[in-house]
């Protein structure tokens, strides 16, 4: 996509963790992110205290926002793939086609104990993620476009020829307990046809590159992030969006970033400093990556600085993609709306007629 396109401008996502669970705060955060000009808002999910369900927070933000993509993290290991698929499809409906999915594979003994399963590690994590993505994608396609026909003459609400069983079975070498999912979905095809699926680079391998639309790239320090982005780009090619993960803490309200940086996640590359410094850093990073996801140290404080000083300047320099009114998340990523995999199979013989 973007690597081959002439426009090298990238997009910016912001992680809205820290907005809390109160509806008014979620609205405030999502609107502030949209007004600031962010292209996407993401919602972290992990079994930590104080965090409401990410998908529900994204759904709540759906009707109150207009253009920003809403992308929750949803675990694949301790969830039911059928539920995950319909929940995400529903998010696409309530956001008017602005939904995406950040696939996570919880390496969490607590999450395992909560649902009475033994904890998955190593290869099993990637396998669970791959299976869950495949189930969701099949279920999203299991209603072809236009399956709801509402044909008064024949009395048919749906055309059953456009509904398909997903018939998914986990592969023979599946590390966890194998399972199958029958289908079809219980909800018509999502507005985008297929939601964009993003996964952390660490899951690639068990999760095939063709299964994802974007890869989230992390590095231990900001200095190493550019190199890591280049490495991942070489692995995934031009057709998958490469998105850099960056913690951010800015000088704000007379307080130096250094004094505020206590809140920053130790494991993730972070930028601490002035808005001007961050602007230069992002302008450079956006030449290598398709997009950057920012994790502000303090949501509302840093969001204000970003919206006031950083995004306008990046836009002026032409390194940010324009925000498209009424666009889908697929549009943002430069992805076409795909036909259902089942439609292609069914259409082949018909084409010969």
């Amino acid at each position: 996509m973007t690597a081959s396109s002439t426009n090298r401008a990238g997009f910016l996502a912001i992680e809205l963790d820290g907005a809390g669970w109160d509806g008014a705060d979620i609205t405030r955060a999502a609107l502030a992110a949209e007004w600031a000009g962010f292209h996407a808002a993401t919602f972290t999910d992990a079994p930590a205290p104080g965090r409401a369900n990410a998908l529900q927070r994204a759904a709540f933000a759906g009707p109150v926002t207009q253009t920003i993509a809403l992308v929750p993290e949803v675990d694949t290991v301790y969830t039911e793939p059928f539920h995950v698929s319909t929940q995400l499809a529903s998010l696409d409906y309530v956001s008017g086609g602005r939904a995406g999915w950040i696939v996570t594979a919880a390496e969490s003994p607590e999450a395992a104990a909560a649902v009475g399963r033994s904890s998955a590690t190593g290869v099993a994590l990637g396998q669970e993620a791959a299976a869950s993505i495949e189930v969701s994608r099949r279920l999203w396609d299991s209603w072809e476009d236009g399956a709801v026909i509402r044909d008064v003459v024949t009395g048919r609400y749906i055309d059953v020829d456009k509904l398909h069983y997903a018939d998914y079975e986990t592969p023979a070498d599946f590390a966890g307990a194998g399972y199958s999912v029958k289908g079809p979905s219980i909800i018509p095809r999502p507005l985008q046809g297929q939601l964009p699926v993003l996964a952390p680079a660490s899951l690639l391998g068990e999760v095939p590159v063709v299964a994802v639309d974007g890869v989230l790239v992390s590095a231990p320090t900001a200095e190493l992030l550019g190199a890591e982005v280049r490495d991942v780009r070489a692995r995934v090619g031009a057709s998958v969006a490469v998105i850099a993960e960056l913690g951010v803490v800015l000088d704000s309200r007379g307080q130096a970033a250094a004094a505020r940086s206590a809140g920053i996640d130790g494991g993730r590359a972070a930028f601490a400093g002035s808005a001007a410094g961050l602007t230069d850093f992002l302008a450079d990073l956006l030449k290598k990556a398709d997009g950057v996801r920012l994790h502000p140290a303090s949501l509302f404080v840093d969001l204000e600085e970003l919206g006031r000083l950083v995004l306008p300047e990046l836009r002026r320099r032409g390194v940010l993609r324009p925000v498209v009114q009424d666009g889908t998340f697929r549009d943002l990523l430069g992805l076409d709306r795909p036909a259902s995999r089942y439609a292609t199979a069914a259409a082949a013989p018909a084409a010969g007629k």
Binding site: D22, Q56, R57, F60, A114, W143, V148, Y179, V181, K182
Partner: protein, 457 residues
């Protein structure tokens, strides 16, 4: 011990009030999709429109059902009825953003969910909505739904409610595990036959303490379960005498469960066909029925029970004289019908239709249309009728299924609600901001035996 709890009152006292809920049905034959004014069943705008109209009419609750596998007909997905619906909690989270007061009720089954996960998601919806969430507990009585889940069809029919009860107890313990409103939470451990849970709640209590619990299910086991666990029953008994009977039965069961006579409220499923005059309402009913049960629907209905194609039969003629194919009728069609009884039922139906002089279409309409749950008449006549329910306490309210989306509540809110308000049997404002307050339910009390290890943070 029992004595102490009994003090809550053995005697049922009618509140003299009614409340409304709206049941936005996702999969059904009752919602008319053939009329030009019928809107989308999946677009968010339809849900928003219905929810906001209901809120304008001071409805207590907005309901979404659940079905986790498409119904089939002769081995393929059923083609004739409305089908396809969003995930309940995702939709309700979005509706929370565009409503202020109305309760948000998600039907979620206990067989294909994990208690810790479901409790967390419901707590999440409850917080996001400012204390307006409820869980309509259902048990899904068909194993074929299991084909969509990791656990498969793992639960015996007989085990459904035992499992459901342990599930709900576990969810309640998770919601009750807070020392104070802000924390810390105590660890909740459950080791049962079907699952093990070891979890520390991640979210504090909501403005209404925990989600309100509805139950839908009608067997004796289902009613006992509701009497022990639920705040409200979504019942299938709206006809007056039947409703009174159901109330008596439930009062006995909830007193026996030690929860007092007024512990569980009742809201039957219902349909309203209203107009300024009785004549117009009857005309409207004809129109509604003809669009609900068209010729194809009538034949398909019989096909479910006959287990064979009957398309050569005239919908306006008599019931088929051929016999059902017994082997091919099975539960996988979702009708819950058992093959062995097919021939007997066919004989019975043929006799009944002949007796009453009914065509296939008329007969199927009489079997399927919500005959029992329909209130037809002028606004004033129906308001009088409902006021009588309120006076004797037959029900606490009605859960209304609109037969038209998205305008199906308009005449109820514009005309019936004001008539009821004039009669003093319907609220004139929301009582508070939470669903629990709208329904006038007590704040739940945590019993001492729910205490579990406090967790050190």
């Amino acid at each position: 011990m029992t004595q102490h709890i009994r003090a809550k009152s053995d005697i049922f006292t009618p509140s003299g009030q009614l409340q409304f809920g709206v049941f936005f049905q996702g999969v059904n034959s009752g919602t008319i999709w053939k009329a030009p004014e019928s809107g989308s069943q999946t677009d968010f705008e339809s849900f928003r429109r219905i929810a906001q109209t209901a809120e304008r009419g001071l409805f207590a609750a907005f309901f979404l059902g659940e079905g986790l596998r498409l119904r089939e007909h002769l081995g393929r997905p059923h083609a004739l009825d409305v089908v396809g619906r969003p995930d309940a909690q995702t939709m309700l989270a979005a509706l929370a953003a565009v409503t202020r007061n109305i309760g948000l009720v998600a039907t979620q089954n206990t067989t294909y969910n994990d208690p810790a996960d479901l409790a967390h998601r419901l707590a999440s919806l409850d917080l996001i909505s400012g204390g307006r969430a409820a869980w309509n507990i259902v048990t899904t009585d068909n194993a074929w739904t299991g084909a969509n889940f990791r656990r498969g069809g793992y639960l015996d029919h007989a085990d459904r409610y035992r499992h459901a009860e342990a599930f709900v107890e576990t969810a309640k313990r998770i919601w009750h595990s807070w020392e104070t409103a802000a924390g810390p939470a105590r660890r909740v451990v459950h080791e049962g036959q079907h699952y093990t849970v070891d979890v520390t709640a991640r979210l504090p209590r909501s403005a209404q303490y925990r989600p309100v619990l509805f139950q839908a299910g009608d067997s004796p086991e289902g009613r006992n379960f509701a009497a022990r666990q639920a705040d409200v029953i979504f019942s299938a008994h709206p006809k007056f005498d039947d409703a009174v009977e159901f109330r008596k039965d439930l009062v006995e069961r909830s007193v026996a469960a030690g929860r007092g006579a007024n512990a569980v409220q009742i809201m039957p499923a219902s349909e309203f066909i209203l107009a300024p005059t009785a004549e117009e309402a009857l005309e409207k009913k004809e129109w509604v029925r003809s669009l609900q049960i068209g010729p194809q629907q009538a034949i398909a209905y019989l096909e479910q029970f006959w287990g064979r194609e009957l398309s050569s039969y005239d919908p306006d003629g008599p019931l088929p004289e051929i016999d059902p194919v017994v082997e091919e009728t099975s539960e996988t069609r979702g009708s819950g019908f058992h093959g062995a009884k097919a021939r007997q039922l066919a004989d019975q139906w043929r006799a009944e239709a002949k007796d009453k002089g009914l065509s296939i279409r008329q007969f199927v309409t009489s079997k399927t249309a919500r005959i029992d749950s329909t209130f037809t008449g002028s606004y004033t006549a129906v308001a009088d009728q409902l006021a009588e329910y309120a006076r004797v306490g037959a029900v606490d309210g009605f859960n209304i299924s609109p037969w038209l989306i998205p305008t199906g509540l308009d005449d109820i809110v514009n005309h019936l609600v004001p008539e009821l308000q004039e009669r003093g049997v319907y609220p004139t404002e929301y009582r508070g901001s939470t669903l629990r307050e709208h329904l006038g339910l007590d704040t739940p009390v945590r019993s001492a035996d729910e205490a579990v290890e406090p967790v050190r943070a």
